[in-house]
Symmetry: C2
Subunit: 362 residues, 2 copies
């Protein structure tokens, strides 16, 4: 894989096998104790996509000519970890939602293990991508400077989506109204201030169409020789969008809490029907007063979407947690107190619906 | 440590000791082969600092009143890894430079191991911080939206520092002019396009004074019960700035390629003189045609600074690589082909000047 360190997992030598054997003999293999050392075959970071763009900036001296050069835009930053033996599993790619970064999947606001490390401990090569125009992927700052210099009017500035604490409380369904939590809520509300620190400006309004994150996710799946794509909220339907651009690397789709498209063509549904798909929704979808999100409508759209994919011969499943007896989950369910129980549901789904099929085809 | 996973390294039990012993017996302990598995006691991410700010945004409906809420600003995102046995060493904090993120310290543009993982493999608890207003730390988007709504004039927009490929080539000293590399250059110039993808807009012009990154670095050092702070370029003098705010946690300072302050008061120099300080500069400081950086001037200012600290009784050292027979290093020396040789110089300096002193004091 270019621009990343080689996967040592594929070069397991006898010594490493011995270590694994001995670790198992000493009772360290099950890794149910999450405080035990984490053993990685490799880790690193790289970019997917990106293109050069000519860029003109006013000179610091108003009498001097403008300075012209090239910048790179639309690249997607990806950070990964591969456990020893990870080549036995399909890689998993996680993409965060609005006003957030890959921090979403890491240490929870109250300091527990995040899905990123948990998936690695469960043997999965795990990739975290910062959306294009966010965090370490950067954004195209040219338009802001063009307005600053007077070359274009302020109306051409991007809408910098800045979600407030109050918006987060309602959209993320922490309680019926700001400052009041659901009694059975799973979000670690005592640490909500740490979640607020994760919330950063969203500049997706700067992006061209199709969203380069979709294209880059499809390219990443190809580069990995197959991957399960996980999206959440703003990015919840990105795995499907990536597959509609190029399905060849997309071996499974996990879509968590978002509006679903229900107007796909028969050809598009046929493409998606070839990929096992899991949709997951938490609790209290209709229990928040006011707010800008309508989760019941999103939920219904996804129920329709799941039926449409199934109708096209696909393996699509709605996992509506309250119906399974799992109560109180917020929109930020990967950070909820029962986050590892939910991760286990996804891991089991990958084992049965993605990897078992791959094996049975051999 | 709040908001991060507990340090399993302090809870080494017999089983883990056995694993380490067996790994050593099988020849895996020296870790000179960087492809061997990486064993971590813990990893995670958290924020330092951050404060609430009331924020007003125009309603999507022009007839409706503006929406008011709170956002969090000035927080600093930190990602860390602790090796097994890491409690034997002083933690190391790395902070990136202008128009870059913590990606600086990770996998190099040509896919080799970065300083972050190398320091961990050398036993150091290693912390990467995204500067406040950059990458996963986010930025205060309120002013951009205020201009967009017409509430304030475009002149109040931040200067979005967007470094072009051409600027990078000269400032980072890849060669005498754009597209032409130094024959003895250490930067992996064949992979320069991957470096360009790391370059993201710099919004430090939005920051209050003192820069919250300085305050947060000082607070992080306290939180870690002592740390070596490493800065580079824009952040090269940040360790000193952090120590001038609160020196209590700063056990060592590594400043790489930046202008140094030479007008510090006797009181300030006295504070810094209590902290071992290493300054490092690469090659070809005066060999680039044009460009906005004057590296010879920066180098001279740091020579003066080192003398001033030494004059105040401090242990300050200038490591000018060409004088040591190490030729061809660029400004991005942590990504250069000989990056691990340079890391070893820093590790050895920490052992002798920071940790040996700590031990001898006991």
């Amino acid at each position: 894989m270019p621009n990343s360190r080689s996967n040592g997992g594929k070069e397991l030598d006898m010594k490493q096998s011995w270590i694994l054997f001995l670790a198992a003999a000493l009772g360290l293999s099950a890794a149910d104790d999450l405080k035990k050392p984490l053993v990685l075959a490799s880790q690193g970071s790289f970019f997917v996509g990106g293109e050069s763009k000519s860029y003109t900036t006013p000179s610091p001296n108003p009498q001097a000519p403008a300075i012209t050069g090239d910048i790179t835009i639309n690249q997607m930053y990806v950070q990964f970890q591969t456990p020893v033996g990870g080549e036995r599993h399909t890689p998993v790619v996680m993409v965060h939602g609005c006003c957030l970064s890959s921090k979403t999947w890491e240490t929870t606001p109250d300091g527990r293990i995040g899905w990123n490390e948990y998936f690695v401990r469960k043997g999965r090569p795990t990739y975290l991508a910062d959306q294009v125009s966010r965090a370490r992927s950067g954004f195209d700052g040219a338009k802001i400077n063009a307005v600053r210099s007077g070359a274009v009017p302020p109306s051409q500035l991007p809408n910098v989506l800045t979600a407030s604490h109050q918006t987060a409380w309602s959209v993320f369904r922490f309680g019926p109204k700001f400052g009041q939590a659901f009694p059975d809520g799973q979000f670690p509300i005592e640490a909500v201030d740490e979640l607020y620190k994760q919330m950063i400006p969203d500049l997706n309004s700067l992006l061209p169409s199709p969203n380069p994150t979709w294209t880059n996710m499809a390219a990443l799946a190809v580069k990995l020789h197959g991957a399960v794509l996980i999206g959440h909220s703003e990015s919840g339907f990105f795995p499907e969008q990536a597959a509609l651009i190029d399905p060849s690397g997309v071996k499974g789709i996990v879509s968590i809490e978002m509006p679903c498209a229900t107007n796909l063509t028969a050809s598009q549904l046929s493409t998606l029907a070839k990929i096992p798909t899991l949709v997951m929704f938490g609790d209290h979808l209709g229990d928040v007063q006011g707010g800008i999100a309508n989760w019941m409508t999103s939920f219904e759209s996804c129920n329709t979407f799941v039926k449409q994919v199934a109708g096209a011969g696909g393996d699509a499943q709605m996992m509506y947690l309250p119906k399974m007896g799992i109560k109180g989950n917020s929109h930020m369910l990967m950070q909820d107190r029962n986050n590892l129980q939910l991760a286990d549901l996804i891991l089991e789904w990958i084992d049965k619906r993605v990897e078992a099929k791959k094996t049975s085809r051999k």
